[in-house]
Symmetry: C2
Subunit: 473 residues, 2 copies
Amino acid sequence: MPSHTKAVPVSETAKRSGVRTRQRRAASLVPTTVELIAAKRDGEELPSASIRSLLAGFMRGEVADYQMSALLMAIVQRGMTARETLALTLAMRDSGRCLRLKRSGGPKLDKHSTGGVGDKVSLCLAPLVAACGLRVPMISGRGLGHTGGTLDKLAAVPGLRVDLSLRAFESIVDGCGLALMGATQELAPADKRLYALRDVTATVDSIPLITASILSKKLAEDLDALVLDVKVGRGAFMKTPRRARALAHSIMRVGQLTGLPVRALLTRMDVPLGRAVGNALEAAEAFAVLLGHGPDDLIQCTYALGVEMLLAGKLAASARAARRMLEEARASGRAAALLAEMIRAQGGDPRVVCEPDRLPQARARVNLHCAEDGHVQDLDALAVAQVALRLGAGRTRADQSIDCTVGIVLLKKPGERVQAGDVLAEIHAASSRAGLAARAPLMAAYTLGQRARSQAALIIERVRPPVLRGVGA
Amino acid sequence: MPSHTKAVPVSETAKRSGVRTRQRRAASLVPTTVELIAAKRDGEELPSASIRSLLAGFMRGEVADYQMSALLMAIVQRGMTARETLALTLAMRDSGRCLRLKRSGGPKLDKHSTGGVGDKVSLCLAPLVAACGLRVPMISGRGLGHTGGTLDKLAAVPGLRVDLSLRAFESIVDGCGLALMGATQELAPADKRLYALRDVTATVDSIPLITASILSKKLAEDLDALVLDVKVGRGAFMKTPRRARALAHSIMRVGQLTGLPVRALLTRMDVPLGRAVGNALEAAEAFAVLLGHGPDDLIQCTYALGVEMLLAGKLAASARAARRMLEEARASGRAAALLAEMIRAQGGDPRVVCEPDRLPQARARVNLHCAEDGHVQDLDALAVAQVALRLGAGRTRADQSIDCTVGIVLLKKPGERVQAGDVLAEIHAASSRAGLAARAPLMAAYTLGQRARSQAALIIERVRPPVLRGVGA
């Protein structure tokens, strides 16, 4: 006996969970928690039943946090096959209940973005496609880290509630065709618990785990199809098209196995999307889009994703027809009206859509001026996000509160000419001091030069469906 | 913001530990726990100061169990450099106090075995080398799994206590020149806590972690040198000489870095060592060796390790001289007398050494007979250990109690002739029924055949010291 494997009084938690589980199972042929962790550690494929029992045991407290985190780290290192990812996804979905919308009504679709800086697409897109006849039950996340959350943006609307019960949420979708709320304990609660653990154990960055996290919630929404916006670039979670494609393929493959059609676009996230960064500012920009204004890149991204949604929902026969439907929903004001209706149903002031001044305003506004003539050659999305974060627009920890009023309006973006004295950006801050302090780092995010530099295309590609090899491939 | 990274209420434990740690450190440049786990996850070398702070945080409860287990799994997958292993070893040693023996006296040496079946070498070896002038402060482990623990074997002696205070242990070593006790909370307590976590998270099997576990305790014993018996084979933790050599080299290299000379032998563990397997039976066999009897393989292994200890302790100028000293200590009865003295000092009945019938006896004894004439060609140590385990001689969980009386006496071993009707082995059991049930699996451990088969050498090699490359190599 090596003395390093000597008998030791196992900690209280160990007694309560893993060890007792092993004890109880010792007689049967069911593998123990430790054996399953060891199998994944050694790169083996875990049987679906084992994955289900691990997750169920975790939710019941029989598989301890420290066992799950060891397993998660083994998964980060060794990966999971499509079959394993499918089993985890379904087990996570089945940890809660699924959405129950009324039988009649349009196809149920949602869009999921992997997150970017200034990404308020959901707020434009959901009303547009809902106005075209889709039902959009959006269960969205709050922001964490350098990317913002759609939920925080909408929550800037005075009075609006995003912490609905699932029942209330269902009735709003049934009534308006769309609703937007935060994650709830009723829907895929295992994801919530797993994510909290991943966040503090450096096990977030794993394609199978991200796949299961996203798809478990989307499957619980009982969708007819899902559209992914996989952001790529320095302001995104995925830094390269290759890795973004791998994530898209993983979600598409597991979606296919569950019967959920998934379409995906890779879109560039090197520069902030649109001109507004910060919650109320982004909400206002999204509303502007619905009223026929708004920045081109945001409109382009919204339309591209909207086309995919209408095609996936079989409401349009061609991309051109889909595009026309979206343009009509925007030009007619029907999308804006639908959003106002949804805001009212969720307790918010619907007048904000047409009167963005009703959104809360930052106490101080500081301008960032340009020193010389030239061109904006580049603007680092991550650097802009970090300025916004420091202004209070985001959170680095889940329990932090945010200031929905603060942020940045980028009056000049890459590809645009500037003259000495021009305002490059408006900084919206909680105090003049905070606003002034943000000027230098925001300036550093800009690259100015004498020559114009051509800008890369926003939509990188429509991801082709992966070849569905044998499950486990 | 990807919704899979949505804000979630972090669990209570997370709040108490990792998250608060991050919060507190956010302002400074000290990497957070999560950053350190991520670095190891990505295969980076952790700075020594970070390893120290992780372990100290773990012992204070600021680094949560689930963070440590994720880190341990990352270490299992990515390994650690010699410099990292050194830092972990020293941090573990420094989690408790070190042994304080009197200044005068012989060199302080210990032997560590990675564990085998029937391995009662420590009980023979410690009195022999102590009788030659070494001081032997043996802090040993209980058995877990298929290998037995020296502690359990000695604990079969009526009245003997192995749960001494460190102070009592020190005074017995000072008085007799040797003492044997179990791990204590006072000495390298971090190892105890880490091992409990590794045991339930499938993170035991890692050479750097095993190195740190063994060496932290041996360094806390304040030794002048250490001798390793790295067992190799189907009955051992290390299945191949290559892996055994890797462990030996790791311990020797980190030992070198701390100034502790380490010698190592690789010894074969395909067949049980000696004839007795089971705690009281093994104690009796060890005592027999000290009285001039006992099986050859056990004597050979004991002498080989004893020679290394005397050479390392500089009490002998050559292997031949060392061997002669050991033979004399055995033949004169001085070693046996010293063991009796130690047993008395630890509260046990010293008469057991010469009168092994005073050891507790099993209630039932069942013989395993041989059906035909031939030769014992092989005997599977692991299979024998599993029979002993089922008889109650060992434990599969740290909190199980064992029956010190039960076990097996292997009257016939590989290389020996048998005749039909011969007793191959005596099964010592808690009941006739248990003894009878053990016959078939024990028979299956034997390979009998018409021809004699030559047996591989017991001592595989004396491990040459590793070339001390730059730390971190």
